[in-house]
């Protein structure tokens, strides 16, 4: 039997929806900017400059705490984490230690059909350091450049209990967390550097390794799979796994030793006296009111309000943008139809292309496509073709889709063929497939499917398969 895997995560998310940094007025919108242009005495740590807390960041973190079902602290305090590194302009990072802003939460994660509850140990705030830029690779670069645009970016760190049992579950957890943060509109997970993960991994009974520097959603599962098989191999060979910190190398997809327990860094945490302790217990009531509907609640509402299946409701509510997209479509057209088309077809086509709902055409276009389908102008195959075409064409430089659905229908000649054309096609197919007719008559039902397929081929998909089916039966009975 395989060893039980025990995983705990520390997830750092930039509160990149804030306009200014955590302790100064510098803008957070520096992703396109020249290096060191979004800085000031505070985030450069110039002598004498003092941090001032961004109240909005505290509010956002409390909202995250509430959304993760945490207890919000009576009062919260910042600490200094002391270490020397060129990207850390003060020689310490302002973070939280004792008195985190939120603690003791839970979220549920759906893994292979059953729900598991993952406990959240704490949620705290901290500042991001600057960014080191190497010329070429780390190994060959003769020097390193430092960009302090990122210095002081507001981060939250979400720490789980060691409740996760597989890499897949860890990935699901991170997706759920991302979705919740995006529901709260405090986080945009698509921006570079938005999310970084450290993972604690062990096999039941063994020592744990901390894997640092996982910086992509897909990297989480890969890094964990690598680390688990490394530990399993060691165990199989009878080598003891030691407690250590390991570094995940995304390019080579492996983890390497960073430091052992004996070399563990000593951060000399102590209270940051430049920031007074914040009494936040009074804030949460107002913020609770402001809390938007979250995924689990929305899922239940969708089931009740639109009568859609649990599975559709789950897919449609996972991401806030998909949920909003669906609700728009459902407000214009049959919600059940809308659910099928958004959850199954549109989401399916997007997943296939590894794309986001933001890369899709607008919901008004989806409404148009479904209207054309419902009124019989295009078939379901035609509708899918329109969706695919619009997705593959992408958007023009001004952000608008390159084509309108009606253009696609016209240009690709997708309008459903008239019934007499279908009838003619059926007759031709029957003439050309005498053997299949014999099969059908001898009781082989799949022969009919074959014939339907041939008609669809002949009409290049523009016939309605149900209609073809009826017509063929009719014709077969007549002859």
């Amino acid at each position: 039997m395989d060893d039980e895997v025990i995983i705990g995560l520390e997830i750092h998310c930039q509160l990149n929806k804030l306009n200014s940094k955590l302790f100064c007025g510098c803008s957070t919108k520096h992703h396109e900017a020249e290096p060191n242009t979004h800085t000031c005495p505070v985030c450069l740590g110039l002598p004498g400059a003092l941090p001032v807390i961004n109240k909005k960041a505290v509010e956002y973190t409390i909202m995250v705490g509430l959304a993760l079902n945490c207890q919000i602290a009576e009062h919260t305090q910042f600490y200094r984490k002391n270490y020397y590194y060129p990207d850390l302009p003060r020689g310490f990072q302002i973070t939280q230690y004792d008195y985190p802003i939120a603690a003791d939460g839970i979220i549920t994660v759906d893994t292979d059909g059953h729900e598991r509850t993952i406990r959240i140990r704490r949620v705290h705030m901290e500042e991001d350091p600057g960014r080191l830029v190497h010329q070429g690779s780390i190994e060959t670069s003769k020097f390193v450049l430092v960009d302090y645009n990122r210095s002081g970016m507001p981060l939250i760190e979400v720490v789980t209990e060691p409740d996760l049992r597989s890499p897949k579950e860890a990935r699901r957890f991170i997706n759920k967390l991302r979705n919740i943060l995006e529901y709260l509109d405090v986080f945009d997970g698509s921006l570079p550097g938005a999310l970084r993960v450290d993972a604690n991994i062990s096999l039941r009974g063994g020592a744990r390794a901390e894997v640092k520097n996982i910086s992509s959603y897909k990297g989480v599962e890969r890094a964990l799979l690598f680390e688990i098989s490394r530990q399993q191999n060691m165990k199989r060979r009878g080598v003891k796994v030691v407690q250590e910190t390991r570094h995940y190398d995304d390019e080579r997809n492996c983890t390497i030793t960073l430091r052992s327990k004996e070399q563990a860094e000593e951060y000399r945490y102590f209270p940051e006296a430049d920031l007074v302790p914040l009494s936040v217990s009074g804030w949460q009531h107002a913020l609770k009111e402001k809390l938007p509907e979250l995924p689990d609640a929305k899922r239940e509402r969708f089931k009740g309000q639109y009568g859609i299946s649990d599975n559709h409701a789950k897919v449609l509510t996972a991401e806030i943008r998909v949920a909003n997209y669906y609700e728009y479509v459902a407000s214009k057209i049959d919600p059940l139809l809308a659910a099928t088309w958004v959850a199954d077809y549109l989401k399916g086509e997007l997943n296939y292309r590894d794309r986001d709902i933001r890369d899709a055409f607008g919901p008004d276009k989806m409404v148009y496509i479904l209207q054309q389908f419902r009124s019989g102008v295009i078939t379901d195959k035609g509708a899918v073709e329109v969706i695919r075409t619009l997705l593959d064409e992408g958007v023009s430089p001004n952000g608008e889709p390159r084509s309108e659905p009606q253009d696609v229908i016209r240009n690709k000649n997708l309008a459903r063929v008239e019934s007499d054309v279908t009838r003619t096609a059926c007759a031709e197919v029957l003439k050309e497939n005498v053997a299949a007719i014999a099969d059908f008559r001898s009781g082989k039902a799949q022969a009919l499917n074959y014939l339907v397929g041939m008609v669809m081929k002949k009409t290049r998909g523009r016939a309605d398969p149900a209609e073809v089916n009826l017509l063929l039966r009719e014709l077969l009975e007549c002859t």
Binding site: G45, L46, P47, G48, V52, G91, E266, R268, D274, L275
Partner: protein
């Protein structure tokens, strides 16, 4: 010398005096800009409560465009791109900023001898220290090299040199004055404070610098509703003065003891009552202070790595080698001692034993004051246990140097305000009396100090000045 006919002429004479001076009170002069400001005041282009008055600024207070070194080699050549809030307020009120004054390196000291730029001398006796760490500021004021000065007080660094140089120094309540732009040494303890030749000037300067500042979260708006110069009232009738017996302990110079008691009796004659009080935890304040200050210093001084500003010598090697070498070259012995001790005290396994314990002691000391202040309005004690010592006398004995702060640092641990006023002489060396008040009770301290000053004659100039 006849009185100057203009602010420009007066400023010009001040610079002539500074340039001939033996005191070494300044590290960097601001001559050109100062003279321009003085001319602008003469022309009516610049006005304000300090218009045309010369003010010197301690070199750990950031000045835009003017070198700020903290008397350390590691910051030599550093020209800040911004003004400290207190400096901005000086400029706003038309002050003529003469320059940046000498100090103990990073404000760590009691004598201004640990400056990379050489020691400052006491105007009353050039063989003696001016006190520290704001020694340059106090010497400049006592030696007529500026009318007033800003110092910083972490454990007595304004009051000690004020006492040694025979001038007035105020350590405001923690939070009264913005620390924005004050290079941090021990940030939970320090405040910017005025140094002047008399109480009215000190009160005026406090009026200018005190007040809430959104850039410093630890500052409070308390001062915004007070005008300190309104409290220059010659009246102490009905006040009760507490005399904390622990501040008159072992090692107190007899001449100092007598001068301070004489001072208390003077106030008594003017209508104030007095009684002895006890602050029983005072004996722990020295250890608690040095642990807290060193721990904070070890972190506050971590930013000086030569990467972004300041000293950058030799060839760039890998990060650890380079920043270690720059810090080894750039910091003096006392700074290194405090960084190392602070680092040790914050380390895992020692944190609870040292830092947390020190914080607990700090609370006890604060409680002592609060309890004692239920019965008295102000307290009076010697500022320093002895008059100014000789240059070099204590440089090889850090502990005896630390012990000199024994009466000033409980005030910083408690966060309360205090003022040192001249109260006598030991030979030709001035003696200071420290008046301590309740939180934000600077008005009463100023009234008491002013009354004392009005009815005594210790505001003298050093011989030859």
């Amino acid at each position: 010398m006849p009185a100057a006919s203009s602010y420009a002429e007066s400023a010009q004479r001040t610079f002539e005096r500074i340039e001939k001076s033996k005191l070494n009170a300044f590290i960097t002069l601001n001559k050109q800009q100062a003279l321009q400001t003085a001319r602008d005041v003469d022309d009516g282009k610049v006005t304000g409560r300090l218009a045309g008055m010369t003010v010197a600024v301690k070199d750990c207070i950031t000045t835009k465009g003017l070198q700020t070194t903290c008397a350390s080699k590691i910051l030599t050549g550093y020209v800040p791109p911004f003004d400290a809030e207190v400096v901005a307020r000086l400029r706003h009120e038309g002050a003529v900023i003469t320059g940046k004054t000498n100090m103990d390196e990073f404000a760590m000291g009691t004598s201004t001898e640990s400056s990379y730029y050489g020691p400052t001398r006491n105007p009353w006796d050039l063989t003696r220290v001016p006190g520290g760490s704001s020694g340059g500021s106090a010497a400049a004021v006592a030696g007529l090299e500026s009318r007033m000065a800003l110092g910083t007080d972490t454990g007595g660094s304004v009051r000690c040199p004020a006492a040694f140089c025979g001038v007035v120094g105020i350590k405001p309540t923690y939070g009264l004055v913005s620390r924005y732009g004050v290079v941090e040494y021990a940030n939970s303890l320090e405040q910017v404070g005025p140094i002047a030749r008399n109480v009215p000037d000190a009160a005026l300067l406090l009026d200018v610098i005190a007040g809430g500042d959104p850039k410093d979260s630890t500052s409070v708006a308390e001062a915004d509703k007070v005008t300190y110069t309104d409290h220059l009232v010659d009246d102490v009738k009905g006040l009760t003065i507490g005399v904390p017996e622990e501040f008159f302990g072992e090692g107190l110079d007899k001449r100092v003891e007598k001068a301070v008691w004489d001072g208390i009796m003077t106030l008594n004659k003017l209508g104030a009552d007095y009684r002895k009080v006890s602050l029983p935890h005072t004996k722990y304040s020295l250890s608690a202070y040095y642990i807290i200050a060193m721990c904070e210093a070890s972190s506050n001084l971590a930013r000086f790595d030569g990467l972004r500003y300041g000293l950058r010598t030799g060839k760039d090697e890998n990060w650890h080698t380079t920043f270690s070498r720059i810090r080894a070259e750039g910091f003096g012995a006392e700074v290194k001692r405090r960084i190392m001790l602070g680092t040790y005290a914050l380390s895992e396994g020692y944190y609870g034993q040292y830092y947390l314990k020190a914080l607990q002691v700090r609370t006890l000391i604060k409680n002592d004051f609060e309890r004692a202040f239920k019965d008295v309005d102000v307290m009076a004690a010697p500022t320093m246990p002895a008059p100014a010592f000789r240059l070099g006398e204590k440089t090889d004995d850090p502990l005896s140097m630390y012990l000199a702060d024994v009466n000033t640092l409980p005030v910083n641990l408690a966060g309360i305000p205090s003022i040192s006023v001249p109260c006598g002489f030991a030979g030709r060396l001035p003696i200071g009396m420290q008046l301590m008040g309740k939180f934000f009770d600077e008005p009463l301290l100023i009234r008491t100090a002013y009354t004392f000053e009005c009815n005594t004659d210790f505001q003298k100039l050093p011989e030859g000045f």
